[in-house]
Symmetry: C2
Subunit: 219 residues, 2 copies
């Protein structure tokens, strides 16, 4: 890590706040689309599904973008949050593993509309190559290094079976990818400096089952 002077130092935003910024961004986008120009912290909090104290505390880490007695300019606040998250620029992304989930991800319009561009779909199975999914050619996994270098890819998505996931992650890291979104049900080990986030469909269901079971017990 390089030392920075105070003025350069990005404010340290708590992880819990970072995780909610995209939620606020989406709520603001909805408000913009509805033609709303100004909103209070109460309004925005309701739209985002949090309480207003938490919202104001979260926004306070970014700066002071509201007007006391008035509220927030929806469009301005939306831009500030987008800039803070980093989605005013476009992030090229590769998806590895084009099974059912990979297909769904490739077709997911929410990526493109939120600052992400799927530049390549890779699969180990030669049968899949030259298939076209969501307007993008499926290519050989071995093309990874070339694509990452050419397109400056920093973010990779793993949608392979669990057994392949670690090997894919290793290759990604080796060629310079430093952020991985992992849909495979496997724990990945990566060096320091590489971020991994995990989405596990069945884990979410299990958490619901736990609470459901308790409801049944107390009924």
């Amino acid at each position: 890590m390089t030392a920075r002077t105070t003025s350069e130092t990005a404010r340290d935003i708590p992880e819990a706040t970072v995780a909610r910024l995209p939620v606020y961004l989406r709520a603001l986008t909805t408000l913009v689309e509805a033609g709303t120009q100004t909103c209070s912290s109460e309004d925005l909090a309701a739209a985002a599904g949090v309480n207003s104290a938490k919202l104001r505390k979260d926004l306070s880490y970014l700066g002071s973008y509201g007007t006391r007695g008035v509220g927030y300019d929806v469009d301005y606040l939306r831009y500030q949050i987008a800039r803070e998250i980093g989605v005013t620029q476009d992030w090229p992304v590769v998806i590895v593993g084009i099974g059912n989930l990979g297909h769904a991800l490739a077709n997911y319009s929410g990526f493109r509309s939120r600052g992400f561009r799927v530049v390549a779909l890779l699969d180990a199975d030669p049968e899949r190559h030259d298939e076209v999914v969501a307007g993008v050619d499926v290519r050989a996994f071995d093309d990874l290094e070339q694509i990452v270098a050419d397109q400056g890819v920093a973010i990779g998505v793993i949608a392979t079976p669990a057994l392949a996931a670690q090997a894919v992650a290793d290759r990604m890291v080796a060629c310079g990818i430093t952020s991985i979104l992992n849909f495979a049900p496997a724990v990945l080990s990566v060096p320091d400096g590489v971020d991994v986030r995990k989405v596990d469909l069945s884990i979410e269901l299990q958490i619901l089952a736990y609470h459901e079971q308790r409801k049944a017990q107390s009924a």
Copy 2:
């Protein structure tokens, strides 16, 4: 909520711990499949990607299932965790919205193998009815009430576009579903007593983008 005597009171397990139990369960299943019979908290923590202090603290909320000086019986601990989560029984689940993501979810083998059974796929589009996905007929959304009543469904999955999600949730709640897993990029409002969990693919990517942007700045 009904009052309960002390002996009936289920131990109150912190949410953060509940969210990790499925991770431990998966790690234990992997160990069982590898033929491992005993493991230390250090071993299991490594397999689950947490530190061993956290693991032991988490397990302590469930009871005392290890042996000092020895470790944990893998199979026994796995059963205890599965029982605590509630996945020793089978949970019937309905999925509403059979687009790309709904397809992927319907085909996801991780549901069935972890205590969930997809009993129905519903879609508002009549063109999709009588399609068969993952061996299950796609049926009309209007069949929801019937299916929930017949099969005793408590958990619903929403994979519709954002605009339809709240209406689907309302119908689910009205016919007795008390746990909802929401993949639609929308904030749902539901009455007390109904649990909603949200999986948002683009939010995870945005969190990665935030950190990626900061890495680039400090480089």
